[in-house]
């Protein structure tokens, strides 16, 4: 099996809410990471990752100035801060969750890590 990397190895993130929608911002640590995520971190992949929450749609936007993507997940909060019966009614942990996503490890993983971090290799399964 090919080695994988976690999204959180090459990016950081933050999530928030607007009514019943949530946004998940993912910021690549480096430009190399941003280029890699442009190909690999698609709206479809993010929608599949959050399938259990049944988002009505997932749309991806780019913020090239800060090497980031913003994912807008519609109707994903079970009613939002108001009526939702979920503990995470405001989507506070969605970014933390998404950063656990496994991606196929790129050849130049070392160039995508934040400064001062040793590369962490997943052992082949």
């Amino acid at each position: 099996m090919n080695p994988t990397a976690k999204l959180g190895d090459i990016a950081h993130g933050r999530s928030g809410d607007k009514g019943n929608h949530a946004n998940v911002g993912i910021i690549a640590y480096t430009r190399e990471g941003y280029a890699f995520l442009e190909r690999e971190l698609t709206a479809g992949r993010v929608k599949a990752f959050f399938a259990a929450l049944e988002p009505a749609s997932v749309e991806r936007f780019s913020l090239p100035g800060i090497a980031a993507f913003n994912f807008l997940l519609k109707d994903v909060l079970g009613g939002g801060a108001a009526g939702s019966l979920r503990t995470d009614s405001q989507g506070k942990v969605l970014a933390t969750a998404l950063l656990e996503m496994e991606l196929p490890a790129p050849q130049n993983l070392a160039a995508m890590l934040p400064a001062g971090e040793e590369p962490v290799q997943e052992s082949p399964a």
Binding site: G8, K18, G19, G65, G78, T87, T96
Partner: protein, 472 residues
Amino acid sequence: MKASIRIGNGAGFWGDNLDAPIRLAEEGRLDVLTLEYLAELTLSILAHQRRKDPGAGFVPDFPETLARLVPILRSQPGLRIVTNAGGLNPLGCARECSRVLSKAGHPDMRVAWASGDDILPRLDILKAGGETFRHFDSGESPDPIRSRLVCANAYLGARSIAEALGQEARIVITGRVADASLTVGPAMHAFGWAWDDWDRLAAASVAGHLIECGAQVTGGLLSRWKSVPDYDRIGYPIAEIDPDGGVVITKPEGTGGRVGIETVSGQLVYEIGDPASYHTPDVTVDFTRVELEDLGSDRVAVRGARGRPPPDTLKVSCAYADGFSARGDLVVCGTDAAAKARAAGNIILDRLRAAGAAPEAHNVEILGQGSNFPGSAVDPAGLREVVLRVSVRDPDRRKVERFCRELSPLVTSGPPGITGYAGGRPLVRPVLSYWPTSVHRDRIQSALGVTVADHLAEDCDNAFFEALELRR
């Protein structure tokens, strides 16, 4: 004209650190201290309070915080405070603050309050004039919920704030405004930019967006959290804005936390939709070309925000009564903790059904198994301790009350290894659901009152004040 101004935000929401405003004002060398108290649903909580007491409806924490800030207002005569603590009753908040100031020996201090955002009393007039108040996403008509609305507030912009500062107010109290307005208003007042200077408005709006959540930009919530020093003393953020619209985000020296590319970029993407079209009442901002430069010493320059005219509608947030809910927890331990917890959850629901009290909606979470952590693959068989959390919602309060009594029996009549009931019976809460909509800005009129504290502190009808009407 000043070279630049320093605006510090000491509160990101009602419930934020109580000491942060005081420490920031003491250490921040600020021109303006902002305090941001209103999340999406805060007004519905205040509406609930106002129903019980017509004099309520503002955030009571603010006058208390103001009392603690008085010595700093005295020793820093240029310092102003701008806050949306007015909530649903900006005048009531201004009165209470005036009493605090008068009592503390400052009857001459000028206090301003801005209103016009509360459109609940005017809904029928506005509807007769052609406003539909359809749901922002679904387009549904509000007619089914009209009678249950508890609040309806338009997001106003920065004009009243800028005007109030121009009228020498040291304390400016608003109701619902766009969060960034608390920063844009002071910038507009300091530099006299035109209200169609879109790029400078955009720059100030981005500055406001970055500091509006307090410590979220100074290390709070950072993914690489181990790189953040001294969370316990985390510094609250300051936006330094210059007359050209240059923005630097920083924090007071010697405080915990840090300001860097990661902390600022994390906050930049917080609670945004399409980054090319971030709408505020005063400008629509394009974030996509924003760039950050780390200047060292916890200073980050923010450049590249572009602005264009805002839409001709203002965002409106409403809340309506939508039943009742309650939530209860039990701790479940043992080799089959997760399975036992699920079984216990089913027992509760079965007993409710048998009692004729099955709720319209329920949710069972097994905390420890990843119920709130999508994408995780925790093997429940390995768990030895979990929290069973059951939540219900129903229009009938009695069904929810019955649910609240179904947890304690499990302590003797269910599976073994259950504990943690000492916290007591869950409480029934009213559900106030969110209704986002919009209104044409030319139907909305804001009003501003400014006077000295001892005029407002008196509860007399002939208190003199200068009232200015500002068309949106």
